[in-house]
Symmetry: none
Subunit: 531 residues, 2 copies
């Protein structure tokens, strides 16, 4: 039996960016787009070119290899032609493969929010789709408020969908913008829409305001739509969007869907999904949800209780899917076997091959576990993980040692009576048995320490010329007085265009930063040596 | 039209207590039972008398006024009579109104976990129900693994349900123990079960392993069950149980359910649900989920963006239910698009009323915009926003001034040759014209600064006794060398149970932290003065 292809459309970088407190930089967008390609989604909606400088810059070049790079925008304004609408033209001129235009599908909103006639809105849909197709883009229309609009005026909502489809839109996306629709309504309305637009051209976009974003997406798929929109970890305004990290395993592993539908995520990619979910949380600088379906730390954890003996006899009968299929782990039994194969996978991912029987692998495994118990999160810090592994395998030279450092931050009045804050760091480094002392000022203690550390590494100085610290994240792990600080540093080498992440953990933020800085420099030196 | 009564069964204190890291004391159980009665559930399952001392003590007296106080236990063991099973007798002897017994409904588990015959298991169900009814208890059977069992051996699963019902069980509860069943399967299996047991005697118990606990519960209700089991905030093993805090508003407010069904939660109780949800998180000592459906802090928050003008014209068309119905609030986020009416709304929310024509409002608006351009994000820092507004209105006393501070972090070898990192801060504070100098060590520069700042505030010292810093977040805004650091601090006052967020922005992380710390202390003093 041939399976239908179901397409995954990620809108983390666009609708996800509507989340309060979330504000992606261009760099973060680049890293997240890479994560999305690792996951295997079909469309990456990157933002709204022209709406703000970051999105415009992000769309100044194509940012995906496999996924269709998609720009978001509004349909043309009423009262002017598509060619005469600068906002629309900016979207069409962006380096995108596809364009997704939001259009009102609820007549009430056409009147109140757009202030134009229903007919003008349909014209805007038609002209915009045609202009996008003319410009060589794959065209999509997001029918905003589709389900509420359908309930208020089904004819007009359907007219919007029909107009988009007939004008040549590859996808007509039905949006439950306010998030209040329930699964059976979604199912019956989607069924009706297919009298007008075939399911192979319909998408679904849901929000979690009643806790049904995932259920609504699957109800629509069950009814026939073949594109699902969502975000990493359900990021999104209010209660969030449909969570692709929850949807993908269900689509891949549950026979009701897997027997009928094919998605672009391979089994290997599915095994990477727990890591991808956690890496995304690191970028957001927030703790992963321990209880998240499939990927949460406790998703396969059972408090022994009354089930203990049965779980010991046959753990699978207490699990709805096998944790390894999604790269997660069972946490009843400490399964070194599972740990070991995960570790081999991680090593392969950073390009290290080790024999399964190598005894150093057991040492590395216990080292990783020990350090993760302290708060290290290696899934977010590839370079620190690679260094840890290579050290255990005896393959990292001692380029330099830091004998001591001292960092000072002072806020005081200066000679002319202004309140100023100054930071200064002194570092004593040993290179080839020779001690070098450096001092530097910075715009903060970590910056000062970074400057001082990199000021004089003797014969290695040339190898770190292009090194720059481009992002720095801090997370407090326990809270309260026993708090442990985790620092994540993103570095970039201007010469090789390589980018890497390092990590440090300590009760002292400066100490944690120091560890991550030293790892970053060591990694740069290691890569310079290899090349 | 008469509505069917739908019963709500809360298992926070029993199945919720299976959550890793959760371990309720008797006192906490008492407080939570009160919360549950405030909410209006019909059954409070309090635990498993005899399984541990806390549960036994909790059941030594009746703990509810209106809800049926329910004890959990296992059906009698095979090979002995009900009257000769001490575990069962302890449950029947407890001060409970109702008893809920778990029974295996999957023949595989009868064999592997219980090690008895299928027939013996049915006898255990029958004898246990009869013994409970004889003891004057309302009897229920939780059919464990019902859905997986039904898929493996429908006849046996149905035999378990039939046996319980015919023996006199008020409720036969169908449990999706492993959490892997999807809504349409739930619907069709529940429909089949009703050929044996009427829906008015059926309950549903779900878990969130595919993100469908709420959807599965409602699918079962839709198919005919009249008891729903769940927990506060979805607490529970692995990914959690069905979340009653999400289910209740949907059952009360969505016509698909509200037109057909009646629940024991009044409109007033529904308005209390946001408060109950947050109070429960306080007991668990964790931060409420900001994105929770209905009750989350951002559940009705919109980043203005492209919707701004329409939201201002008619907010309801962007909301699936009115926030007041669940005791929550609309929040149009103060962002760089903030207009005067947004600002007035935000001021009202923190309890400040200002006349729309007050010229100080324009000054405050430009101040907010100016500071947000620097990187302040007041949507995440209510306390700093309130201070900023009150200062502009001239209503914040100068409790104290910090004349200068100095923070030092040093990593060096100590006298016995260990590498140590020490942090020390010196602060000069002026209270009522008198200078006080304090020094403190901390496990990092910010902790040292916090300790030194709070060490001696003279006459204000008593007012900050209960103050504690419970979370600290750092974000780098631009990246690179022009980086601006944003620090967000969450504080808590142990005496008032108040929690608040403050913010600081600077190119220097210590300086940004200092601002947020000073705001936090000032806010505590302001609230102490008001009370």
């Amino acid at each position: 039996m041939t399976k239908d292809r179901l397409y995954l459309f990620d809108t983390t970088l666009r609708d996800g960016a509507q989340t309060s407190g979330v504000d992606f930089s261009v760099n973060e967008k680049i890293v997240i787009a890479e994560l999305l390609e690792r996951l295997g989604v079909d469309y990456v909606e990157g933002g709204y070119p022209g709406a703000n400088p970051a999105d415009t810059e992000f769309f100044s070049q194509k940012r995906t290899k496999n996924a269709a790079f998609t720009a978001f925008g509004m349909t043309k304004r009423a009262g002017r032609s598509a060619s005469n609408d600068p906002g629309l033209q900016q979207i069409l001129a962006s380096q995108s493969d596809a364009c997704c235009f939001v259009a009102k599908a609820w007549d009430y909103h056409v009147d109140v929010a757009l202030g134009c006639t229903n007919e003008e809105n349909l014209e805007a849909i038609e002209d915009t789709v045609k202009a996008a197709v003319m410009a060589g883009k794959e065209a999509m229309i997001d029918c905003e408020h589709f389900f509420d609009g359908y309930k208020a005026n089904p004819d007009y909502a359907l007219a919007c969908a029909r107009t988009a489809y007939q004008a040549g839109a590859r996808w007509v996306v039905l949006c439950d913008t306010n998030g209040g629709t329930l699964p059976d309504e979604i199912h019956s309305i989607v069924t009706k829409v297919q009298e007008i637009v075939p399911g192979s051209h319909l998408g679904i976009h849901t929000h979690d305001d009643t806790g049904h974003a995932v259920a609504n997406s699957l109800a629509a798929v069950d009814a026939g739509v073949r594109q699902v929109q969502g975000t990493l970890n359900g990021l999104g305004e209010r209660c969030g969007n449909a969570n692709l990290i929850t949807l993908i395993p269900t689509l891949k592993l549950k026979s009701q869907f897997a027997d009928r539908l094919e998605i672009g995520v391979s089994e290997d990619q599915l095994q990477d999904i727990t890591g991808i979910s956690h890496a995304f949380d690191e970028i957001l600088n927030r703790s992963p949800n321990r209880h998240a379906p499939y990927v949460g730390e406790t998703a396969f954890a059972t408090k022994a209780g009354i089930h203990a003996s049965a779980i010991l006899k046959d753990p699978q009968t207490y699990e709805h899917v096998a944790p390894e299929t999604v790269g997660n782990q069972r946490r009843v039994l400490v399964s070194d076997q599972a740990g070991k194969s995960n570790l081999l996978g991680e090593l392969a991912r950073v390009g290290i091959t080790v024999d399964k029987a190598d005894p150093r692998l057991d040492r590395l495994l216990s080292k990783v576990k020990e350090r993760e118990a302290l708060g290290y999160a290696y899934e977010a810090a590839d370079a620190s993980f690679e260094l840890l592994a290579l050290r255990e395998l005896g393959e990292v030279p001692d380029f330099f040692q830091v004998d001591s450092f001292k960092v000072m931050v002072e806020r005081r009045f200066n000679a002319i009576g202004d309140l100023i804050t100054v930071s200064e760091a002194v570092v004593k480094v040993n290179v080839d048995g020779e001690t070098r002392m450096s001092v530097a000022e910075g715009n903060g203690p970590v910056n000062a320490l970074d400057m001082a550390l990199r000021k004089d590494l003797g014969k290695y100085q040339a190898a770190i010329e292009g090194l720059e610290l481009i992002d720095y994240k801090v997370r407090i792990l326990n809270g309260g007085t026993d708090a442990v600080t985790r620092v994540l540093i993103e570095s970039h080498d201007a010469r090789t265009q390589r980018r890497w992440f390092t990590i440090g953990v300590s009760s002292n933020i400066v100490d944690a930063s120091f560890q991550a800085l030293v790892d970053s420099i060591t990694f740069a030196l290691l890569k310079a040596q290899e090349s």
